[in-house]
Point group: C2
Chain length 167, copies 2
DNA sequence: TCCAATTTAATCGCATGCGATATATATAAG
DNA sequence: CTTATATATATCGCATGCGATTAAATTGGA
């Protein structure tokens, strides 16, 4: 969260300032991302409801389609989540029949997760295809926004990691 | 969520296809936004922990700084949330002393919410100032990404709204 | 070999989001 | 005036995220 550097100086005092116009929510990049994420979830909802999936479950299936026999940890690296969040989600996907979970025989600590044929079939229908239009972005803009947001994410994670290592 | 149209055709069969390279998570705009939102939350966490605030509570305070005596509904329009989510958050902020909540005398259905002087003081310290660097974006890029993501959000919400009205 | 440190998942508690519903107030119809 | 409808907020249940802890398996060192 940040105000632009320019506004910052003109915005400092405010012990009594009734003028907070420089602090509008719309100026915050973090809020843009926060609310865009809510908007994506709402756009997906009607489609995923029909499939009995949640947004996160759907993303997990996509991540699982990248490779068979992934461990929970590997999946977590892709999704930026850990087992505390993933385990309950994967159990639900298993119960729904989209995923198979089993301990690795060579290392019983790990759990290997793989899409079932039902899971693969579901993704092959490309349920979210209709949402392309909803973004209002042409192919070029789409790729551009996708790339800037990804870079932003990686910058934030790198900075956060650096901070926590310093302490 | 979408694969690029080009890849889609080359990706259809997969009854046995081990090649799902066209379906990589990194190709999904929704995942970029999803994970960037997680990254923002993690970047804010150490700062907000010191203040005893959560990320959403912090955003709510920012929204409240835009005007005094906002109703829950008005705040919800800014944050894209409704009373089911906001009420518990506002009660916590009230308990923490950053916010005042009181029924509107003229219309007892509404609740007016206003920052206390403690709440205003907290925002005046600009706790998230240090995160500007973490974005890795210069002022120009910052504004540009902010604007594209906001437009994306508004497109999605408009499309979602249109769909739900048609049904 | 034996045992302490490490690694991987899973569990638990708390704070959102959100659909569905409940409650209280205000407004409109008759 | 009385009642039906509409509106604003709050409550409840479920599904994430996430810090803290636990449990089980593996690894490394004495």
């Amino acid at each position: 969260m940040t105000t632009s550097p320019k506004m910052k100086t003109s915005n400092l005092p405010s012990t009594k300032s009734p003028d907070n116009s420089g602090r509008k929510l719309s100026k915050f990049l973090c809020f843009a991302v926060y609310s865009a994420n809510l908007a994506f979830g709402r756009a997906y909802k009607p489609i995923l409801d029909e499939l009995g999936l949640t947004y996160t479950q759907y993303i997990a299936l996509q991540a699982l389609s990248e490779g068979d026999e992934q461990t929970v940890g590997e999946l977590g690296e892709k999704m930026f989540l850990e087992s505390n969040t993933l385990t309950p989600i994967l159990k639900k996907l298993e119960l729904a029949g989209y995923v198979r979970r089993q301990r690795d025989a060579a290392d019983e600590r790990q759990v290997r997760v793989t899409l079932t044929s039902a899971g693969r079939r579901l993704l092959d229908t490309d349920p979210a295809a209709s949402l392309m239009d909803a973004t209002g972005l042409g192919g070029a803009d789409f790729a551009e926004v996708q790339e800037s947001v990804t870079r932003l994410r990686d910058n934030l994670l790198r900075a956060t990691r650096a901070r926590s290592e310093k302490s």
